[in-house]
Amino acid sequence: MITFDGVTKRYADGTVAVDDLSLEVPTGAITVFVGPSGCGKTTSLRMINRMIDPSQGRVLLDGKDVTTVDPATLRRGIGYVIQQAGLFPHRRIVDNVATVPLLLGWDKKKARDRAMELLERVGLDPKMARRYPFQLSGGQQQRVGVARALAADPPVLLMDEPFSAVDPIVRASLQEELLRLQSELHKTIVFVTHDIDEAVKLGDTVAVLRVGGKLAQIAAPADLLSGPADDFVREFLGRDRGIRRLGFVPAKDLALDPAPEGVTPEGHGTFNPARDSLRAALDAALLSPDGLAVAVDDDGRVLGVVGQAALVGAARG
């Protein structure tokens, strides 16, 4: 667990980047710091691995004040991924990934084997291993960045806008990949972004920060969308938060009507109550000419239908 205990960062010119921040980052979950530029989200992140030290307050990693730990030692135990991946241009991909294990004194063979294993894990062709960073696309470089951060198997991963510089399609696939990896690895991840959609998609917990480095609200994504603490958070979440919140409500509790004669998945929007959210069910209903969303199981068998009125009722909760 990472604890921010009354943390303030004030620079010599008087600028306050982070103002009395107190929050907890739970172990094994993704916590997102989100907010507009100037809200201190990156500064807060960097106080965890001592790239920046606080002016006041403490940052605790598993109960221990990080400023009492030697910076290099601390950092080798914390994975770090940044926007342009920060790969070493003069090292081959495999050696980039093996960086931290080698700093920790592993022998070369073991470090390389580990690097190859990780390349595979993040979905990269082993043939890429011998290449140099400039020979990879932005999305591939970012995967290498994630593999490199994971190489020494650190319990904590810091990610500073890692997917901001790639196009939306690649970004979506990198996000999916991160969630898939996290479901296997259960790291304690602190993820910084300015994109609220990314925050609610990835975060188990979302901390919204406002300009001046003050915490506006910290909550699970669904709670954030249904109950913003103030106007700033409401505005930052955007207009369609009602619809977006439905993405966090499972569709499994919907009451299904028997399918009328002749209603088939063809020509209708469908959803799978076992897996999908209320948002997917509503979307299915809106796509069907008769307004009926067709519920299907994993094998595509029709389970029943639900109408728009019933969906809106369910959405009101």
Partner: protein, 221 residues
């Protein structure tokens, strides 16, 4: 019938005649007096350049001083040094070393500045100590820019050595004075051809070193 531009028999007789002014000896001296300043310059420029990259306030004064030195006529420097080092190769090597610094210090500084900030940051975040970060991340990434500066320094050093002939230590430069005094063109042509060839070879050697050392810097064309 006029004298031909190049008299091959002169070259054959004087290439290796055993004397101090045989072309072979002059060429060897020329290589030493051009090569030593560039190597010495690089060894001095790396720490000075690193200091200038680290402490920004040092950079402008350093470049200013180096540019003033660079603007001094080489002959004037030779004359000053004559009283200290006499009619030796050292008298030529010292000013040429100073001249090479005017190119090499900015090259080292630019090289360090060519290290992308996100790369430096990620090295810090991965737990590199400052010295190791310098040696295994920053310096290797600076190599292409430093070598580009080294090419300029090497070629200009090879060309400048000739001026030393005026104090009797100019390598191939002797051939220019000799040819001019005797109104005999063969030594002058030989001197020019060898100086240019030497510059080309030095340049190609550095380019080859660059290809070998920095395969990662080759962009897809």
């Amino acid at each position: 019938m006029d004298e031909p531009l190049v008299r091959w028999d002169w070259i054959a007789r004087n290439w290796d005649n055993g004397g101090p002014t045989s072309v072979k000896v002059l060429l060897e001296n020329h290589i030493v007096m051009a090569f030593v300043p560039v190597v010495a310059g690089l060894l001095i420029a790396i720490p000075l350049g690193l200091a200038c990259a680290r402490y920004r306030w040092l950079y402008q004064p350093t470049v200013g001083i180096m540019n003033v030195v660079y603007s001094l006529p080489s002959l004037a420097l030779f004359s000053i040094l004559l009283s200290v080092t006499g009619l030796t190769q050292t008298t030529v090597i010292i000013p040429l070393t100073l001249f090479s610094l005017a190119v090499l210090i900015p090259a080292v500084v630019d090289g360090m500045r060519s290290v992308p900030d996100h790369v430096r940051q990620s090295a810090v975040a991965m737990g590199f100590q400052p010295y190791r970060r310098l040696v295994s991340v920053e310096l290797p990434i600076a190599v292409p820019v430093v070598l580009a500066g080294l090419r300029v320094a090497a070629v200009s050093s090879i060309s400048l050595v000739s001026v030393g002939a005026l104090i009797g230590q100019g390598g191939l430069g002797y051939l220019f004075i000799d040819g001019w005094q005797r109104q005999f063109y063969t030594p002058i042509v030989v001197g020019i051809v060898l100086v240019v060839a030497l510059a080309l070879v030095a340049d190609l050697v550095i380019i080859a070193a660059q290809r070998l050392l920095t395969p990662w810097a080759r962009r897809r064309a």
